[in-house]
């Protein structure tokens, strides 16, 4: 049981194919997560990366709180169920399930208990002595599940476990898996390409396409609020209906015009599209309208009022309890269906229509979805990205919400009016000079979105859970993120990137030292080595003290027990003798049982075969008799011929039939025999294992009790070795220090970041160029930093920044820094980024490393 964290996970294959790009997700303990998507979308790859079967190119994977990127699959404490079951064919069901625990050296009695528990949970008790080949697909998959659950793993991974089963078994297993999850309360991750499985099983579903996550949400939310056209089309059967339309804002409503067909316009209320950007409502931008088959109705009594379209029926699909009407918004004849105008309507029956009829259908506009035709993203996101507002310029000053602080960064001297676009994260509630009133609050997952009226404008802001409708709030605006266009749509001010990019290369100590001859670099290394040495010196002394004491105690104890040791040893040996004797007896009994079992089955086989032989002999005789009889009686040529032919056919197929029957019987008997033999064998081997364990344990226990000194000595050696190895490792790490090189400036990289970069790129790090993205506030003034010239001072309303420039790789680059202290224009300052709060990218493949 554990949570999982996936941070910027990438999988890039050696041929450059990006199978998974920037996968981010937090999975909570006990969740049932389903990865779904068409084939080749990277869902299985992601699962295999979690399992450790596939290396992670870049990014971090945490199971619980442990980073597991470099951990072996066996150490991750996960279990996996494979599509093709992957049972070990040479082992019985019992051995298959016990194998994992045997490898982990779990005591045998415990293994036995657990196998029995798992067998009970999955109803496999009576199959324990069978081999996989004697079982059906559903049973095999259940064994595979049993093998997984019995280790009580932190995470259960299921890779399309049901795709090899037939439809009926699949739905049965589906509910079993669901029950299993409720019973175990373990984190499940389930991969499937079947959206029905995804919707029915998942507490949250991850929809993926071409290696990218499209949407992560609960099944209901995916169905009701798909984020883009792909998700809308992928989730739900039959597929959502899509049409090309345009939106036009009118006085108090918004009209929807169909582009590819002649249909009356639909009307929406303005509130419905409040979150949509204004540019979509001009009537010229391509929009995709989507609605599901249940959001349109053709039932006569419901078709009245607005939003009615004409549908030409092409054909029906009757599903018993409901009927799908396939039609087209265009009047087409025959089969010339145009996919951009075809529509599916759900109805209770055929409603008395026939193909070719033109009927009226009403669209429920409350249940429609609107997508941008170019990006295919929804234009009504749960949380809009930005607020686009009209701005009046009064006295060469912006009049936005009030006359509070206005940014000098937006030059409005020669502009009459225009529009400003403020990203939602540029508005911070709770401080600042602007005020407004909350009109509406809606909860979007863990965030609260409020519609606020400020001045004469309505904006969306994020508030905390305590805010209520009607509250007065204060907020501030970060104009560095704003875009301003004048009345002719000319760009006046564009947003400042929220981070500055600087380029760097990765160098080791030797290179850094040789180029700069800076002794302080070597000093850093020496200090680190010294620190490690000091640390271990102390540890070693502690270790020696601890063990000396322990060993001395052990010695004293051993001496005091020496007098009893011999008699005790004799006792133990005697007991072991008895156990060995028992074992030998069991062995002879086992051999005998086996022999008897074999003899019994040979006998059974013989009688069964004789039975069949006899049966066929009779059949042969009977047919021959009948034939001769009918030939003797019958004089009609035609029927004689047909009788003769049928006899011929019988004679020809007879040996084959007999063989088939014999083979079937022998196979069945063989299975029975094998199962019985396995049962005898496993019974014996359990006894044998138990006894040999006991013999060993008796000796070990004796030694521990009466000769503790030697045991301790061995343990001490082991621990000492471990300590020394650790020291060696730490020393090696202390020696390895790396720098980012900016032109002629070097910056020491913290170990944490170095590890991640090297983990991501291996030994290619030295040939790559890195892009470091630094937030404006995270430049630190130091003495040995890179020199920047302060060029100007920019006022972004509540935020103030200095623009600084420098030469980097032959180019002049500008950065903006956000510092509390006053800087002089023209001054040169020496700066370095605070690496712990930056993002680091590799430029060639554009992979985020930190």
């Amino acid at each position: 049981m554990a949570s999982l964290k996936l941070e910027h996970i990438y999988k890039v294959y050696p041929n450059g194919h990006k199978a998974v790009s920037d996968f981010n997700m937090n999975i909570e303990d006990g969740e049932f997560i389903v990865f779904v998507g068409p084939s080749g979308c990277g869902k299985s790859t992601t699962l295999r990366m979690i399992a450790g079967l596939e290396e992670i190119t870049s990014g971090e994977l945490y199971i619980g709180d442990t980073l597991v990127n470099d951990m072996q699959p066996k150490d991750r404490d996960i279990a996996m169920v494979f599509q093709n079951y992957a049972l070990y064919p040479h082992m019985t069901v019992y051995e298959n399930m016990a194998f994992g625990l045997t490898l982990r050296k779990v005591p045998r009695t415990e293994i036995h208990e657990k196998v029995m528990w798992a067998a009970d949970v999955l109803g496999l008790r009576e199959y324990l002595d069978r081999k996989p080949k004697a079982m059906s697909g559903g049973q095999r998959q259940r064994v595979s599940l049993g093998r997984a659950i019995l280790r009580n793993p932190k995470v259960m991974l299921l890779d399309e476990p049901l795709s090899n089963l037939d439809a009926k078994l699949r739905s049965q297993m589906r509910s079993e898996i669901s029950k299993l999850h409720q019973q175990l309360k373990t984190t499940f991750i389930y991969v499937t390409h079947d959206q029905v499985e995804a919707m029915t099983l998942g507490t949250r579903v991850v929809v993926m396409k071409l290696g990218r996550v499209q949407q992560i949400d609960s099944p209901q939310n995916l169905y009701d609020h798909p984020i883009n056209k792909f998700v809308a089309g992928f989730i739900g059967t039959p597929q959502m209906n899509f049409f090309n339309v345009t939106l036009k804002e009118e006085k108090d409503k918004v009209t929807v015009n169909f582009k590819d067909c002649e249909q009356p316009n639909l009307t929406l209320t303005k509130d419905q599209v409040l979150k949509a950007e204004k540019k979509y409502l001009q009537g010229d931008k391509g929009i995709i309208l989507g609605f599901r088959c249940e959001a349109i109705t053709a039932e006569t009594e419901l078709v009245k009022g607005d939003n009615i379209v004409n549908v030409t029926i092409s054909h029906f699909e009757e599903l018993g309890n409901e009927t799908l009407i396939y039609g087209d918004l265009k009047e087409v004849s025959g089969l010339g269906n145009d996919s951009t105008t075809s529509v599916i309507i759900k109805a209770t029956s055929k409603l008395g229509y026939k193909p070719g009829d033109v009927i009226k259908a009403k669209i429920d506009v409350q249940k429609i979805h609107l997508f941008d035709a170019e990006s295919e993203m929804t234009i009504l996101p749960p949380i809009p990205e930005k607020n686009v507002l009209p701005v009046d310029i009064v006295n060469e000053k912006m009049n936005l919400f009030s006359n509070a602080s206005k940014p000098e960064s937006i030059p409005v001297d020669f502009v009459k009016d225009g529009t400003i676009s403020l990203p939602i994260d540029s508005i911070t509630v709770g401080k600042g000079k602007e005020t407004g009133t909350i009109l509406k609050i809606e909860q979007q997952r863990k965030e609260y979105l409020a519609l606020v009226e400020a001045g004469n404008k309505k904006i969306f802001v994020l508030v905390n859970d305590k805010a209520k409708v009607g509250d007065k709030i204060t907020f501030s605006v970060d104009y560095s993120k704003a875009t301003f266009r004048d009345e002719n749509d000319k760009l006046i001010a564009s947003p400042l990137a929220d981070k500055d990019d600087i380029s760097a290369t990765f160098v080791n100590l030797k290179t850094a030292y040789e180029t700069t001859k800076n002794e302080s670099f070597n000093q850093i290394r020496d200090q680190r080595i010294k620190a490690v040495n000091d640390e271990y010196q102390q540890k070693e002394t502690e270790f020696a003290e601890k063990w000396n004491k322990l060993l001395e105690e052990a010695k004293v104890k051993e001496e005091s027990l020496a007098s009893q040791a011999d008699s005790k040893k004799a006792e133990v040996l005697k007991e072991n003798e008895q156990l060995k004797l028992d074992l030998a007896n069991a062995k002879t009994k086992y051999a005998q049982d086996k022999k008897e079992c074999k003899a019994k089955h040979t006998e059974i086989k013989k009688t069964e075969i004789a039975k069949i032989e006899n049966q066929y002999k009779q059949m042969w005789a009977k047919e021959a008799d009948e034939y001769h009889e009918s030939m003797a009686k019958n004089k009609d040529a035609d029927s004689r011929r047909s009788r003769r032919l049928s006899y011929q056919v019988f004679k020809e197929s007879f040996p084959q039939m007999k063989n088939n029957d014999l083979e079937r019987k022998t196979n069945a008997l063989e299975f029975d025999k094998e199962t019985e033999l396995n049962a005898i064998k496993s019974q014996f081997s359990q006894f044998k294992n138990f006894t040999t364990d006991k013999i060993k344990q008796n000796l070990v226990k004796f030694n521990e009790e009466y000769h503790p000194y030697n045991a301790l000595l061995a343990k001490q050696k082991e621990e000492l070795k471990e300590l020394q190895n650790k020291k060696k490792d730490d020393l090696l790490h202390a020696e390895l220090i790396f720098f980012f090189k900016y032109e002629d400036t070097y910056q020491l990289i913290p170990d944490e970041i170095t590890n991640k970069i090297i983990q991501g790129l291996g030994n290619k790090v030295f040939t790559k160029i890195f892009k470091i993205r630094v937030p404006h506030a995270n430049f630190i003034k130091t003495n040995d930093g890179k020199e920047y010239k302060v060029v100007s001072y920019v006022n972004y309303g509540d935020v103030k920044m200095y623009k600084c420039t420098t030469d980097c790789m032959g180019e002049k680059i500008a950065i903006y820094i956000n510092k509390a202290e006053e800087l002089e224009i023209g001054q040169t300052i020496s700066l370095l980024p605070d690496l712990s709060s930056t993002e680091i990218y590799e430029t060639e493949l554009n992979i985020r490393l930190y």
Binding site: L53, K74, I78, L87, H90, G100
Partner: protein, 287 residues
């Protein structure tokens, strides 16, 4: 009309079958003739290479007796030498071949493809092209005076015949490996506890092939025998039998020796055959 067609087709099929069997029987006779010839000759009192049967009154087991008792034809020593060489070569070679095949089937390492191609190309050269080199290497290691250095010679190049085992391993589903890795095993566990138990047929095959190779090899044995200046009792059976052909009076003994040589191989085959059960991998994965 219909009936006639039916009957003629049947007759044709029957005729065809008779023809096929006739050809097969002829081929079979040609094929087993040398063996029977050898067996009969080995029981002949007076060697007469020109007739198949020794003739009435000429039957004897004297050749066999002489084979084991005559000091100048130390057949038992040869047989033992060869058996030791073949046994150790088979053991070494089986392990090497299976491990190589597993590595090339399952592990993905740099140069894997190149290595496979290289082995393929090297395999196209006749093995004895390397004789000279092998001789010098053996001399360097001071091994050229012992017939047992043949073990080293045979085993060294043995992993070149990994193809069939690799082909077999390729058919075992990779998810079995992955299941073991997740269950807590290592690549070693996969190989020894899952792949090998599933590969009985191919193990048997490898043992048989790697035993028969050294058992019947003449070229390298003779080479070492000559260059090392070995005594007669240090020969392998192939070299020894060739030595016998140098004496006309040993003709019958030679035939008896040849028959004796075939016995271990036959025994080995019959012993291993019962493990040679196909379909052992059934039920591993959906099939």
């Amino acid at each position: 009309m219909e009936k006639k067609h039916y009957a003629s087709k049947r007759a044709l099929e029957k005729g065809n079958r008779i023809l096929v069997y006739a050809i097969l029987i002829v081929i079979c006779l040609i094929w087993v003739f040398p063996f029977f010839y050898l067996v009969f000759q080995s029981f002949g009192l007076n060697p007469n290479p020109k007739s198949i049967f020794p003739g009435p009154g000429n039957w004897t087991i004297n050749n066999y007796a002489q084979l084991f008792t005559n000091k100048s034809t130390p057949f038992f020593s040869w047989w033992l030498n060869t058996f030791i060489i073949a046994f150790f070569t088979a053991a070494l070679q089986t392990v090497l071949v299976l491990m190589t095949a597993y590595a090339l089937s399952r592990l993905r390492f740099t140069g894997r493809q190149a290595l496979m191609k290289l082995i393929l190309i090297l395999g196209m050269f006749p093995g004895f092209l390397g004789m000279l080199v092998i001789y010098y290497i053996l001399k360097l290691l001071n091994l050229n005076t012992s017939i047992y250095s043949l073990i080293l010679v045979y085993a060294a190049s043995s992993m070149m015949s990994y193809y069939i085992a690799k082909g077999f391993f390729d058919t075992i589903s990779k998810s079995l490996d992955e299941a073991v890795l997740i269950d807590g095993g290592t690549k070693n566990t996969v190989f020894w506890r899952v792949i090998l138990p599933l590969s009985k047929p191919i193990i048997i095959y490898t043992i048989l092939v790697s035993f028969t190779g050294p058992w019947g090899d003449f070229m390298f044995g003779k080479y070492i025998a000559i260059s090392g200046g070995l005594q007669v009792n240090e020969f392998t059976v192939a070299v020894g039998l060739q030595y016998l052909t140098g004496f006309d009076e040993y003709y019958g003994v030679f035939c008896a020796g040849a028959v004796m040589v075939s016995i271990p191989i036959t025994a080995l085959f019959f012993w291993l055959q019962r493990y040679y059960v196909e379909g052992i991998a059934g039920g591993a994965v959906k099939g």
